[in-house]
Amino acid sequence: MMAIEGYVLLSAGLFCIGLFGILTRRNALMFLMAVELMVNAAVINLVAFALYHGTLTGQVFGLFVLGLAAAEVAIGLGIILVLYRNFGTIDVSVPTTMRW
């Protein structure tokens, strides 16, 4: 079994890969996926720490987080849909009518 540091580093890496995606991609779907990566990084942590501490709290919470991630994606897709209907694109850098 990998040492606990390994899992935490893995999840930190996953988190930052997700973040990298958010910062560099403009496609709304990619944004959504990148956020999912970040959330899943948290889940990896939770599960690993559950084993580390010998309580299942982290595991159960991880399940809840997965459920919530699904809910968030559902709404995200809805918003991206109306975005497409209005702007004809899902590039997040296009809607900038409001600023300053």
Binding site: I22, S93, T96, R99
Partner: protein, 670 residues
Amino acid sequence: MEGLFTFAPAIVLFPLVAFAITLLVGRYLPLGGAIPGIVATGGSLALSLVMAAAVAGGETTNELVYTWFETPEITFHFGLLIDPLSAAMLVVVSLIAFLVHVFSLSYMNAEGETGLPRYYAGLGLFTFSMLAFVVADNLLMSFVFFELVGLCSFLLIGFWYRTKSAPSAAKKAFLVTRFGDFFFLIGVVAIAASYGTLSFAGDASFVTAAESAIDSETFFGFDADTWVTITGLLVLGGVIGKSAQFPLHTWLPDAMEGPTPVSALIHAATMVAAGVYLVARMFGYYALSPTALAVIAFVGGFTALFAATMGCVKDDVKQVLAYSTISQYGYMMLAMGVGGYVAGVFHLLNHAVFKALLFLGAGAVIIAMHHEQDMWKMGGLKEQMPVTYYSFLAGSLALAGIIPFSGFWSKDEVLYDALIVGLSEPLILAAYAMALLAVFFTGFYTIRMVRLTFHGEPRSEAAESPHAIGLPAKIPLAVLGVLALVGGAMNLKPLEELAGLEVAFLERWLDGQGVGSVDGLTYHAYSETVHYGHEYIGGPEGTVILSAALSLGLALAGAGLAWTLYSGPEPTRHTERLGSLRDLAVANYYQDEYQVWLARGLTLPLARASDRFDQTAIDGVVDGVGSVSRFGGERLRRLQTGQVTDYAALVILGVLALLVVLGINGGWFL
């Protein structure tokens, strides 16, 4: 609360009720909703007189009315403090508010103004706020109503919102006084935080707390006496804003955009008076700090001169009066600053009467002139409107400080008090000298105003056939005119000093001799706290005579100069008047030369310089503050690019910065 004082809250509440009635159903009432206001202020006046009588009968009250909320450290409450000072002020404020309401029937109703319910509602709220401010028993309540007074003046100055200038004048008045009030607020909080109380009087007052703290405690790292000075000066910020003292006086001349009766109310009894009244109210606190007193005196003396010189070059009759207000409040501040508590309050009361008179008189002239305010377009109104003329003249002579009108007595007492202190304190002497010089200018601009307005030939069509003014305008003028003549009898201090007669009634009143008084709030108690020594030239009697002679002489000189300079049927403007003067004064050539030099060489440049300073430096600073914040805001808004990815990047940047700083601090990386 017991006895007559049970009714005291009604003094305050009457105008509030009138405000509510006028606001809600004013449009259905006759006379544009004026009646509730007149009845309410009349009722307040009657009750104020009752209170004054009660105080004369030896009673006072200092009662808690309503507790806002309590914490273990401090209680915030509303309360009533009626002592000789607030009783006298109540009478004057309600009297003037009443007369202004009556006068408005002529000024507003008869002129067919629209929006009258809004106007009368504003007046009601204004009166309410001021009366509540007068009876406040603690500094927080004072602050709240002080602010409300400012808010009402904002609404009333901007009454004619359709014009371009009125809204901006209203906003300027509001913002400039608010600027001062921020210091006031900090002061209030600082006092609350350091003494745990905000009451003015009694054993639990912050004055008592400060007194006992001096020499024994420190607050926020300062000695107690330094702390008293700091907090006192912070509160003074509010006073300087509201009482239009240098450098926060710029709002007052602009405030002329409001209806003239409102100006009368603002200048005489409410807004501007609030500042000086606050100093008088917490005089015991200022008395503890020689530094704060010196600052008050110096600011007062300087403002008196500064504003008086500007009054000499204004053409708009209301502008002249506005600068005279600033200048007169300078005198009151000077009086307070030299420990002349009685003199300051005396001048406050007198000024309230004669300045209300002058503004209402100017209002009458403005109606007659079909809303023309330029004095150069007036002239010759003396014969056409005698009631106005004679009452206005009485007010002017009181303002100029000519014996025996009320202003002479109070101004003389201010200057006398300043002189005897100034002989040992150089800074005060400088303030005294400025105030003394201002007497000359006061005489000059006052008589110039009277001359141009009422004397000579009519210089416009409107002046030839003035509009008639109604009885509601004449009655207040007559009442106030009489008071301006006899008001000085309140405190004939020089006669007491010279002839030994017991005629300094106001001094005895404010000292609680034979009338009710609250411990620690008497002239005596204050005098014991103030650290000034007194010196005399030729003994007390000699100094009295010297001081009176100097101020009267200068006032007469200024008045005489203006009288001759602006004489004749067609007075000419300032400098190019030499020609028309010649035939009048060939024989007195040197006199002429001297007068013209005075006018051209001294008065005008000084006045112009003050004016320019006013227009550029002060307003420049005020505008500058605005542009700095706008510039900063412009910079900040550029961060908001509208790009959601940029936002994400900024978020992460923030997180990263926090993590790195805190992590290095906390040693997480090891």
